[in-house]
């Protein structure tokens, strides 16, 4: 009893920002990965798209790189919508549960809590995608041999992961401003406009440029995967453009988190 009364600050007070961020990320990960909705939505959307994979007939190709790139293209078409939708309610969760005052009174400032939320909840929401991808690689390995595994992991890292990190970063930041419902609608609109409304519609769009998040450039440049809107622009992707595409997504994700960190820090009383 005396020991408890003599403790003037919680144990985390003595720890650095990194340790606090790791602790917040761990907790956010465990909260999010245990939500049935996360698994249901993400896996349902992957299954829905893969029930009728695009482009027709690609599964019979003998080139491992093309095979995994086109499967990655099918994974990434719909599932970021689900990732963003189930992440969007994380941003204002503490305010909705009226926990902000309590959290502000702890030694952990808004920075570690925000970055912990982005890393932990983001990683948890990407977990079902990674599990589904590992399952697919297991199936392809049984069919084609172990040569599929390294190229499959590379395709995940280059095509699927940057888009999911991009969507996750915006899904835990923009809803602070808009609320989750309006953000979800905006995300759906952006995903369609930015990836699927190609130049043929006559509307200015990033679809088919290195600034689209769907990963056409890494897919086409490094894995000989299908290119759809970029092909309509007459583009044959190069390695440099693929690096530009991935860098843009990662830097845009970092910028969203850094700006939100700055704004929330200015507004926070602590």
């Amino acid at each position: 009893m005396t020991a408890v009364l003599e403790r003037t600050a919680p144990p985390t007070a003595a720890q650095g920002r990194l340790a606090k961020t790791v602790a917040a990320a761990r907790y956010e990960y465990l909260m999010q990965v245990r939500r049935p909705a996360v698994w249901l939505v993400v896996l349902a959307l992957i299954t829905l798209r893969c029930a009728s994979p695009f482009p027709p007939g690609f599964t019979s190709t003998t080139d491992h790189a093309t095979l995994v790139a086109d499967w990655a293209f099918n994974f990434i078409m719909l599932c970021p919508i689900g990732v963003g939708a189930v992440l969007a309610d994380r941003a204002r969760r503490e305010a909705r549960l009226e926990l902000n005052d309590l959290l502000t009174s702890t030694p952990t400032s808004i920075g570690p809590r925000l970055w912990g939320k982005a890393i932990g909840a983001g990683a948890a929401t990407i977990t079902p995608v990674a599990v589904a991808w590992v399952g697919l690689l297991g199936y392809l390995t049984a069919q084609r041999g172990a040569g599929v595994i390294p190229v499959g992991l590379a395709a995940f890292a280059a095509i699927i992961l940057p888009a999911l990190l991009f969507v996750a970063a915006y899904s835990v930041t923009i809803p602070y401003l808009t609320g989750p419902a309006l953000y979800r609608l905006g995300l759906f609109g952006y995903w369609i406009w930015g990836n699927m409304v190609g130049p043929r519609y006559g509307i200015p769009t990033p679809a088919g440029t290195p600034f689209e998040p769907i990963g056409e450039y890494p897919s086409g440049a490094w894995f000989h995967g299908v290119m759809f809107d970029a092909k309509q622009r007459g583009v044959h992707a190069t390695g440099g453009e693929a690096v530009l595409s991935i860098s843009f997504l990662l830097l845009a994700a970092l910028a969203a988190l850094a700006i939100t960190h700055y704004v929330l820090s200015r507004r926070s009383p602590s």
Binding site: R35, P36, A37, L40, V41, V42, A44, L45, L48, R49, S52, F54, M77, L78, C79, I81, G82, V83, G84, A85, V86, L87, A88, D89, R93, R96, L97, T178, G179, P180, A181, L182, R184, L185, F188, G189, W191, I192, M196, Y201, G202
Partner: protein, 232 residues
């Protein structure tokens, strides 16, 4: 309508908050602005007609469904409401307060588009309602059923938007299947659809919607599921 009814509606609007109605109206008004800007800037008739069809049969129903599902599980006074009235009735009233204004604005969009001659190919006067109302009812009803069943507006929004987009991406596979064709959301703006298939589709969508509303109502027979837990 007497004063107590007005007071009740105002109260429910306050409970819902500004975000759901704004989200529903943003979709239908955003589509209208796109069509009007394209028309005013002299875009090709084919592109303007396509945008009008997308706004009516696509954006407005999806936005309304996302907005309607977002009101589930956001009621901090749910326990109090449940002790005084039937929660099902309250929730359906709130959904109506989000859907009805969006439906009226979408109808207005259709009238304006027709006046501008920005109109989905092959649609007659019935298109004022039949292009957008069946998919709107289908999407709103299924979004509510998923949101209530899973206690998660996020899951409902993600799944409904995924189904909506998959219907567009996998259009030919859906139209080739006899059963799935009856549930195709964009039949009202599809090219060269036989009249009897169009009719079956426009009847089948609201039918499934009504079944989903009944199922959601049955789930709301146990409203205590919404108490004491965060979103699933």
């Amino acid at each position: 309508m007497n004063r107590s009814t007005w007071a009740r509606l105002r109260l429910e609007l306050r409970v819902i908050g500004i975000a759901p109605p704004v989200t529903a109206l943003a979709a239908t008004l955003g589509g209208a602005i796109l069509v009007i800007v394209m028309h005013a800037t002299g875009a090709g008739a084919e592109h303007v007609n396509l945008a009008a069809g997308a706004a009516l049969a696509g954006f407005a129903p999806l936005g309304t469904a996302v907005a309607a599902s977002s009101i589930v599980g956001r009621d901090s006074g749910a326990e109090l409401v449940m002790t005084t009235t039937v929660y099902r009735r309250v929730l359906f009233l709130r959904v109506g307060l989000v859907v009805l204004p969006a439906a009226l604005v979408t109808l207005l969009d259709a009238v304006v588009f027709r006046a501008l001659n920005a109109w989905p190919a092959g649609q007659g006067t019935g298109g004022y309602v039949l292009v957008w109302a069946p998919p709107m009812l289908w999407l709103v009803a299924l979004a509510m059923l998923i949101a209530i069943g899973l206690r998660s507006p996020g899951a409902a929004s993600g799944l409904i938007a995924g189904i909506w987009l998959a219907q567009d991406l996998m259009r030919s596979a859906i139209l080739d299947n006899t059963v799935l064709r009856t549930q195709f959301l964009f039949m009202g703006v599809a090219d060269r659809v036989p009249v009897h298939e169009w009719t079956v589709n426009r009847i089948a969508l609201p039918t499934v919607g009504v079944v989903a509303v009944i199922a959601a109502g049955l789930l709301l027979g146990r409203p205590e599921r919404f108490l004491g837990s965060d979103a699933a």
